[in-house]
């Protein structure tokens, strides 16, 4: 991953729902195309739905395929945490944006090695 180069912070709006999905996709596409590092700020989000979560995953995949950095910043509002947990994308969503990437299932990297070594007794083991 490139650490140097241009950095772009994308601050999401209050509502990131299906009616804004197309424009969110444009914004993300533009950012991935024009920056080496992307920081997504979710702090202001009050309503989020599945379309936005889809797009974040898609953007992450895009960034990964182009060897670019894709991370979160700011805080993770209650509404976002709830949506992520309801969808099973996170077991327990963190409050801090920077922690979110590693908490999201299948986000940082494909689940692989962690699948092999896990005690069934432990709860809340991360496998992302």
């Amino acid at each position: 991953m490139t650490e140097n180069g241009s950095l772009k912070v994308i601050t999401l709006d209050r509502r990131v729902t299906i009616d804004r999905a197309e424009s969110l996709r444009e914004v993300l596409l533009d950012a991935v195309a024009n920056a080496d590092s992307l920081l997504v700020n979710l702090s202001h989000v009050e309503v989020i739905d599945l379309t936005a979560i889809h797009l974040l995953y898609a953007a992450k995949r895009q960034a990964r395929s182009e060897k670019k950095r894709f991370e979160f910043t700011g805080t993770v509002p209650e509404a976002v945490r709830e949506a992520l947990e309801h969808g099973g994308f996170c077991k327990r969503a963190p409050d801090d944006g920077p922690d979110l990437g590693s908490a999201l299932l299948d986000f940082e990297r494909p689940a692989a090695d962690s699948a092999t070594d896990r005690s069934p007794k432990k709860q809340g083991v991360r496998h992302g």
Partner: protein
């Protein structure tokens, strides 16, 4: 099986008590959603477990009221006093059914029908109009099973209910694959998943494999599917109902994969089995992969099985394991019921250990052996902890008793046409279970007195410019090693002239005796004072306030009363925390030990020969300006031997004022394990028990209140 039935009955009694409590709360605040659901839950649990243990009549009956309560919970019926009355009647009836072994005989089953028809009447009155929720009467004889997959619309359960819960937990595997166009009909899959999560313990595993890169994605398509593992008491149908509106826009399968009806640890399913069951791989592949040295998951992934599938299977394995553990924990360790006789045995044993430990300490001191001393000190620490925790097991909050009284007050006030509000505080105060049990009757008596004699009729109250509704305050609070229970009413107060007149009439006081205000009030506790009216009022008990006083004193406590005319009356009961072990003050008379309950001891002073002679043989001393009558215990117990030059006076406070007990020597305080006296000595007055001292000798524990009245018969 009988043992299970017994357990069920005990549990049901508890539930009924909770139910009563919630209903009385609701009477104050009929909109309290939490209490409404609590009432509903109680009834529901009773119904479920009654059916499970074969109390069909109770189950059927509870079902009726549950149906109505469901309407209340849904908000289609509002709760009012009538419904609360009926529900309370239901509660009493279920209790009667339980007492009668759960089988309705002729009378009871007729009564069931009466209550059910009252209910139906009530519901049809309330819900006039085309959508009235009629309840189909279920004859009490009919049997109905509360079983698995019980469809929601049988036996007249109103439309809109989500059906009967199962009586045990089931883990479901729900595979939910929305079609890509699911958004088009306005569905938000996350909300559906949230709804599932509310039904129970939930593990949600999304499949994200189909989510492409940003350049290829159509943001208006749903590309995720889910495996949800849900452990719940809901039936399959109830789970399916969540998805009822999107049946056409998603593929859905709901399977029960683990039935937690028993807490037996079922066979642990291995990863390979789960994967095979899910149709990801066949068992043969699993066997082959298992043959290698690598982890199965890793191996399968290498063989081209999708990671996500392995992942999901692992999640499933974990979830099943976790929910089993939880159910086990819930059933096994959250609380256990133990007969109080077993606890008594334990307390006895701890008492023995405490006694033995005291001897050990003493021996160690005598032998002056450092090793033994250190051992004994460690042992003492452990013994103290053991004692405290054993005692704490027996501690029960007063709250449960309080709520019983709320019902009593409610029923009494309706009966007597008075308006009474009862306020309780300090329900969390804990007391020894035996003490609480024995407090019940005295408290019932006092509260009945408050409602019956203390509080005026509403008309009378209005006339004297008081609020029409009277108030009874019942409170409990810790005060040192005792608990103070106060019962207070804002009624007319006690009439001193009448009390005095009656006491004279009955020969309880001499016609010319001068009594203080407080002395007059305390006459109500004298034996033989109780009026004829009071006897009929608590007919069958024959309890007067003298019995109340006696009972409280036998608990080592005392009663006092204060009253102001026109303002109200306050009774105060002071009760020791526990009966088994008390803090005592050890004294000696001619080398023999006696124990005072430390709680009663005010101070110790010296009594010299000069002081004895000062008062011309009258047994009083001047204690810092106050006259203190004293009793020489040596005389009371006929102990021979010479008087020491300086005696000690243990000053004890009692409701009648301070009394001094003269002893030879005060040794010091000690933890006293109370042992009951043998049958022959049980009725000895002035002695409440005995204890074993460190050196193995026996010391009598003095009942100071009794001794005081014995030795100082008339106080002027």
């Amino acid at each position: 099986m009988d043992k299970f039935k017994e357990n069920f009955r005990e549990e049901a009694y508890d539930l009924l008590n909770n139910l009563e409590h919630s209903l009385l709360e609701l009477e104050q605040d009929p909109t309290n959603r939490e209490e409404i659901s609590a009432v509903f839950r109680c009834m529901h649990t009773i119904k479920g477990s009654a059916a499970m243990f074969g109390f069909q009549d109770i189950s059927n009956f509870a079902h009726e009221i549950e149906t109505v309560l469901e309407l209340v919970r849904d908000g289609s019926l509002t709760l009012d006093v009538n419904l609360i009355n009926i529900t309370l009647a239901v509660r009493d009836h279920i209790r009667a059914l339980l007492d009668g072994n759960g089988e309705a005989d002729g009378g009871l089953s007729a009564h069931s029908k009466v209550i059910v028809s009252q209910l139906q009447q009530y519901v049809s009155d309330q819900t006039r109009g085309p959508q009235s929720h009629a309840i189909t009467p279920v004859p009490a004889e009919a049997t109905r099973s509360i079983g698995k997959d019980d469809a929601s619309h049988d036996s007249g359960v109103p439309v809109g209910s989500d059906g009967d819960d199962l009586d045990h937990f089931v883990t479901y595997r729900i595979r939910f694959s929305p079609k890509p166009d699911i958004y088009l009909n306005g569905t938000n899959p996350l909300l559906l998943l949230g709804e599932l999560a509310e039904m129970g313990e939930c593990t949600i595993v999304p499949y994200l494999g189909r989510v492409p890169k940003l350049t290829e994605i159509d943001p208006l398509q749903c590309l995720v599917s889910w495996d949800v593992l849900l452990t719940t008491r809901k039936s399959t149908n109830a789970v399916r109902d969540v998805f009822i509106f999107i049946e056409d826009s998603a593929d859905l399968s709901v399977e029960s994969i683990d039935d937690l009806s028993s807490i037996d640890d079922g066979p642990h399913r291995r990863l390979g089995e789960i994967l095979a069951e899910r149709g990801v791989v066949d068992l043969e592949t699993v066997e082959r992969a298992a043959g290698t040295q690598k982890r199965l998951g890793q191996m399968l992934v290498e063989q081209g099985v999708a990671e996500q599938d392995v992942q999901a299977a692992l999640e499933e394995q974990q979830h099943v394991q976790r929910s089993r553990e939880r159910v086990q924990n819930e059933m096994a360790t959250s609380s256990i019921r133990v007969g109080s006789d077993k606890l008594d045995v334990m307390v006895d044993l701890v008492g023995e250990i405490v006694t033995l430990q005291a001897r050990l300490t003493q021996t160690a001191k005598q032998l002056d052996n450092p090793f033994l001393t250190s051992l004994s000190e460690n042992f003492e620490r452990l013994t103290d902890e053991l004692r405290d925790s054993t005692m704490s097991i027996r501690m029960v909050p007063m709250g449960s008793t309080f709520s019983k009284f709320r019902r009593l007050v409610r029923d009494l006030s309706q009966e007597l046409g008075k308006q009474v509000e009862m306020i309780t505080t300090g329900g969390e105060t804990e007391l020894d279970k035996t003490v609480i049990d024995r407090l019940n009757d005295p408290l019932v008596h006092i509260i009945r007195n408050c409602v019956d004699h203390g509080l005026e009729s509403p008309e009378e109250r209005t006339r004297t410019k008081k609020p029409a509704s009277g108030t009874i305050r019942l409170s409990a609070a810790h005060s040192g090693a005792s608990v103070v229970i106060t019962i207070e009413d804002d009624g007319a107060g006690l009439n001193r002239e009448k009390i005095l007149a009656k006491a004279r009439d009955r020969g309880l006081v001499a016609a010319n005796a001068e009594l203080s205000e407080s002395d007059i009030l305390h006459l109500i506790f004298s034996p033989g004072f109780s009026t004829a009216r009071a006897v009929t009022q608590v007919s069958g008990r024959g309890v007067g306030l003298d019995v109340v006083k006696k009972e409280i004193e036998s608990l080592g406590g005392n009663v006092s009363v204060e009253s102001t005319a026109g303002i109200g009356t306050r009774m105060k009961l002071t009760i020791p925390l526990t009966l088994a072990i008390i803090d005592g003050l050890l004294v000696e008379i001619n080398g023999r030990g006696f124990v005072f309950p430390l709680q009663a001891v005010q101070e110790c002073i010296e009594l010299s020969a000069e002081m004895r002679n000062e008062q011309n043989g009258r047994k009083i001393i001047n204690n810092r300006g106050a006259v203190l009558p004293y009793v020489r215990l040596r005389d009371v117990f006929s102990v021979s031997g010479d008087l020491p030059p300086i005696e000690q006076v243990v000053v004890v406070h009692s409701p009648d004022g301070a009394i001094g007990f003269v002893v030879d020597e005060v040794v010091g305080d000690l933890q006293t394990v109370i042992k009951n006296m043998g049958r022959l000595y049980r009725n000895l007055e002035g002695i409440s028990g005995a204890t074993i001292l460190g050196d193995g000798s026996v010391a009598l524990i003095l009942d100071v209140h009794r001794l005081g009245t014995l030795a100082v018969p008339v106080r002027a």
